[in-house]
């Protein structure tokens, strides 16, 4: 680009994987040696947020007690409040067993039973024989299961010589005349240069976007870059109104304290010391699904039974657990409690509150991780998505604990395999074969956006806008929502959009310009927050992680369907819907 201060580089690959968490790395293992592929990630792979997952990965190994993958599938469907596409859940739960065995073969240091088998423990919403009682289904490595999955998959990528471009942030995608993927545009943090990747296929595994909320378990870097840029280029996003609030975030900070704490016997108590979950879920109590527990917690606080001077938290009680069990099974999370709260969890109650944790919605895909662009499942040629950024939908309206680690491994593998096959079959006949020239000009919008931000003389600061967005979303689009709260949030987002046009950054340089990348990420956050609020306003029922005070009941006649949000010209959002794929489980009232 003449006169531009931005240097542009060109690359040609068959396939590009975007994101190096569990889904991206598992996909990379699958394509390794089959085509020319690269993994681009805005973090070094071992920094990815898969590493923050704690409690486990469910699979019906039946190592400890009787279990079956059908029970797991039923729990997943019921846990998702029947918005789950049932064939997808069956695939995930059936393949879970092989996925765990494969991770063990890859070297994952699972905890073991006395007989040397992979040990298993209880987790929320996972039950024996369709809800009879909690079942030990979660395979785990202490309370760092995600870290061990991330590192094990990274190790296997090293063994296979996978090509990584670390600290490259994807900003745009290009499609050919037939709607097929032809290239990606990424920003290199170390230099500020822009890189154009000509490719036949791309797999998005960019993770979540919990940073639209103030109190969140998500990393600072989880800003939804992948889904947001696809939305801008015409790909719809599915079920964005369904966001999971994990019951046990550390008070104020939102740092996750794994459900494994309750799987190991921990109990939630209100200010009166009462085990309140007995009233809300008499059978499974503290191991009810997360949406139910978070609602119960907020209900307790609204009724004046919250703890503390503002009655704005509850207590997680581990004091009755044997100290050696805490040290062996929950070492990391109890260290978090000591570090950030300054209390000893073996003897003191832990202040907790619901924390924005997981996006059930995202980039719509089929069970092969192929991205679909409409309600009838039309595939976008060469485009794949897996993990939290995707919506298959295996989690429906509420994800069960441990099913995210399962999702990334199962659908990362499926997506990688499908993509390698697509490339081997010649793809759509364009992309890398045409060489760098195929990317001519696709970086223009990215370069212009960078130059506009660096040249802006506005008075608005990214941090002020982000604070305002996050506070509004936590306050008005959180565990409970109403038409009024959502309308107010939408108006706030509109105002922030206007202000975003006048942001100014201090750093005009190239190398490690986080001022710039945070400004770009802020744009993504605004897009995704708006999708969430618009979809949530339209859905006049309560289901799973979407709870409306003004429409408290689930409405299967009107709303047993997936939302698709499209972004039209001028940024206007438009909704349409597609049916849930049902199966053997009839939607029923959800009791635990």
């Amino acid at each position: 680009m003449p006169g531009s201060s931005v240097t542009v580089h060109h690359h040609a690959y068959d396939a590009v994987i975007v994101g190096a968490g569990g889904a991206g790395l598992r996909a990379a293992i699958e394509v390794a040696g089959k085509c020319r592929a690269v993994v681009i990630s805005k973090l070094h792979p071992t920094r990815s947020h898969t590493g923050a997952a704690q409690g486990g990965m469910c699979a019906a190994l039946a190592n400890v007690e009787e279990d079956s993958w059908e029970w797991h599938a039923f729990d997943t469907v019921k846990g998702g409040d029947y918005l789950v596409d049932q064939p997808a859940a069956e695939i995930m739960c059936r393949e879970a067993v092989d996925a765990v065995i494969e991770l063990e073969r890859f070297g994952l240091p699972f905890n073991r039973t006395a007989l040397g088998r992979i040990d298993q423990r209880r987790f929320g919403g996972h039950t024996r024989n369709h809800g009879e009682a909690p079942v030990k289904r979660a395979c785990y490595a202490a309370d760092r299961t995600g870290l061990m999955i991330l590192q094990t998959l990274y190790q296997q990528c090293l063994a296979r010589g996978v090509d990584f471009h670390d600290e490259f942030q994807v900003l745009d995608i290009a499609f050919g005349a037939g709607g097929e993927v032809t290239g990606l545009v990424a920003y290199e943090q170390a230099t500020g240069d822009v890189h154009v990747y000509s490719c036949r296929a791309a797999l998005f595994a960019t993770g979540g976007f919990g940073r639209i909320f103030k109190v969140s378990s998500n990393a600072h870097t989880l800003t939804g870059d992948g889904p947001a840029l696809l939305l801008r280029r015409g790909v719809p996003l599915q079920d964005m109104e369904f966001f999971q609030f994990h019951p046990t975030g550390i008070y104020k900070l939102g740092i996750l304290l794994s459900e494994a704490a309750r799987g190991e016997g921990g109990i939630l108590r209100n200010a009166d010391g009462e085990r309140f979950m007995e009233r809300y879920a008499p059978t499974v109590k503290d191991l009810a699904p997360r949406d139910m527990i978070s609602r119960a917690m907020v209900t307790e606080m609204r009724a004046g039974r919250g703890a503390g001077p503002k009655q704005d938290y509850l207590h997680l009680d581990l004091t009755h657990l044997p100290p050696e069990q805490i040290d062996e099974k929950l070492p990391d999370i109890t260290d978090f409690v000591r570090t950030y709260l300054g209390i000893e969890p073996k003897t003191a109650l832990i202040p907790v509150q619901p924390t924005a944790h997981y996006a059930m919605g995202g980039i719509p895909t089929n069970v092969e991780a192929e991205v679909v662009r409409d309600a009838v499942g039309t595939v976008v040629p060469g485009l794949y998505a897996a993990g939290e950024c995707a919506c298959v939908s295996v989690h429906g309206a509420n994800r069960l604990g441990t099913n995210s680690l399962l999702d990334i491994v199962v659908f990362g593998r499926r997506g990688g395999a499908r993509m390698a096959g697509y490339v081997a079959a010649g793809g759509a006949g364009t992309g890398a074969a045409a060489g760098p020239a195929a990317g001519g000009g696709i970086e223009a919008d990215t370069v212009a956006a960078i130059e506009r931000l660096k040249g802006s003389t506005g008075a608005e600061k990214v941090a002020d806008l982000r604070d305002a967005l996050q506070a509004e979303m936590t306050d008005k689009a959180g565990v409970f929502r109403t038409e009024d709260s959502l309308a107010a949030a939408q108006a706030t987002i509109g105002g922030l959009r206007d202000r975003y046009d006048h942001i100014c950054i201090d750093d005009k340089g190239g190398n490690y310009n986080y001022d710039l990348t945070e400004a770009l990420e802020m744009g993504f956050l605004l897009d995704l927050a708006e999708c969430l609020v618009v979809a949530a306003r339209a859905r006049t029922e309560s289901r799973g992680g979407h709870t409306r005070d003004d429409f408290a009941a689930r409405d299967d006649a009107g709303w047993l369907k997936h939302t698709l949000v499209h972004r039209r010209h001028g940024g206007r959002l438009e909704l349409d819907y597609k049916p849930v794929v049902l199966g053997r489980y009839e939607p029923k009232e959800r009791k635990y």
Binding site: H44, G107, G116, R117, R144, Y340, V462, N511
Partner: protein
């Protein structure tokens, strides 16, 4: 109750400057905030050009190791109340500075790769089930699986400062994790590789690494266990 904190940060932009300088910033934070929160206050409200890596903000991603008041720490697991109101922040020692607190870790990753940190096991095929491993066997390498590759240990090691060819404690920790894993079948090769002056025998047991580890890994002990395995002729 907010408190005033003074941060002295070693600033350097090699694209524009010939040598580092100190930047001093006054920020308001809570006693229970993290040093990372104070750094964010600087970047978000005082000087957007300040560069530092971070992601998870609770000590598991390993992004934000840096020298805080003279010691290698993770900025996200160190609270203001534990470090005081005058805070000096510098980049990790022994790596080239890319910008401010961002260092060039390519050599660190190369050292890690040099120990072949992946399970090497043949086709002693257990069928469609997992390989067996007793709780005792699993425990033998538990400590070294906790590593988050933050480089706090390697950049606190006086041998690493003096000898850039020394592989460093983090790489040895990650070799230990496989040497003592009963499933791994490359023990002899791993020990042979480490049995060199710039590998385990470079370690002078200064214990800086163990002090620096934010995960509480007994790094020096792990290195000693590898040395003893070499002497015993394990594998």
């Amino acid at each position: 109750m907010p408190v005033d904190v003074t941060l002295r940060i070693k600033r350097f932009d090699p694209d524009r400057e010939r040598k580092p300088h100190w930047g001093t910033y006054q920020v308001q934070v809570e006693e229970t905030d993290r040093v990372l929160d104070a750094l964010h206050e600087v970047r978000w409200r005082h000087d957007g050009t300040l560069a530092f890596r971070r992601s998870c903000a609770h000590g598991v991603c390993g992004s934000d190791a840096m020298v805080i008041n003279g010691r290698n720490r993770l900025a996200c697991v160190l609270l203001i109340q534990d470090v005081g109101h005058d805070i000096t922040v510098e980049p990790l020692r022994g790596f080239d500075v890319r910008k401010d607190l961002v260092v060039d870790m390519r050599g660190f990753w190369d050292d890690l790769k040099s120990v072949k940190p992946w399970l090497t096991a043949g086709q002693g095929d257990p069928g469609d089930r997992e390989r067996r491993q007793s709780p005792g066997e699993r425990h033998a390498y538990d400590d070294t699986t906790k590593c988050i590759l933050c480089a706090a240990c390697t950049t606190s090691c006086p041998v690493s400062w003096a000898n850039p060819d020394f592989v460093g404690p983090a790489a040895i920790v990650n070799a230990h994790r496989f040497i003592f894993d009963s499933r791994d079948e490359a023990t002899a090769e791993r020990l042979k590789d480490l049995d060199r002056r710039n590998r385990v025998w470079g370690c002078r047991t200064a214990f800086n690494c163990t002090d620096a580890c934010p995960r509480g890994i007994r790094v020096t002990q792990a290195i000693e266990e590898v040395k003893r395995a070499i002497v015993r002729g394990d594998g």
